[in-house]
Symmetry: C2
Subunit: 136 residues, 2 copies
């Protein structure tokens, strides 16, 4: 069944959301930084039921998201034709501390983003996944 | 002076942020929806010192952002070459109620996004503007 939201956008199924999330080259992590809304584009890798992000040990991102609920968004929109889709995941984030888990994540095909200091992993468990598509 | 953040990304000046924001075709509004982080891609228009978003009167977005502090993000990133930039604005949002102000905003070159019910404007005052660039 095709469901549309009040704005007339089509709601994506969970399978569609997973497929779009898995194929997206980059996403945006949405969190709270010193009581203010914050957002940052990041490279990521989907590992089982979690989004894996590589960051630096002392990054503001790692400090801000530790043990909090964050959102993670991917989209592909053509502003000219006003078509596209977006998928948002919400879940608990944690910074990986365990050396064995870090070593395993280090083998994932997840490239470095910024030039310096990327040596910590953030895991975001996918607890809620929603998406919408705008068709012409 | 070129400033870099701890991850080695170059911090953009206010002028650079404004120019990139003005030229971006679409952005993402970041807010809190029933105590959870939320994010949604939106078309927008820069009107003086405010981001203008067209939405529907009864939208969850309009209800959630009314009189709250939200973030607004634009970016352009090439995941393959790992180059690009992102700019984030933070400020107070309000839903426009005044008919005269609505009529004025209705004349802006801001197109409808979803197919149905777009008849309310959200204004986000630019109170804090930051950006970063990742160069090869």
């Amino acid at each position: 069944m095709v469901r549309t939201d009040p704005a007339g956008l089509r709601e994506l199924t969970l399978d569609e959301c997973m497929a779009l999330l898995a194929g997206a080259p980059l996403g945006r992590i949405v969190y709270t930084d010193r009581a203010l809304p914050a957002v940052q584009p990041v490279l990521f890798h989907l590992d089982g039921g979690a989004v894996v992000i590589r960051t630096s040990a002392g990054s503001a991102l790692a400090a801000a998201v530790q043990d909090t609920v964050v959102a993670f968004e991917v989209d592909e929109v053509d502003a000219r034709t006003r078509t596209g889709w977006s998928v948002t995941a919400v879940g608990h984030a944690r910074v990986v501390d365990d050396p064995a888990e870090t070593a395993r994540l280090d083998l994932l095909p997840l490239r470095r983003w910024a030039p310096a200091g990327h040596e910590r992993f953030i895991l975001l468990r996918l607890e809620r996944l929603t998406g919408r598509r705008i068709a012409p």
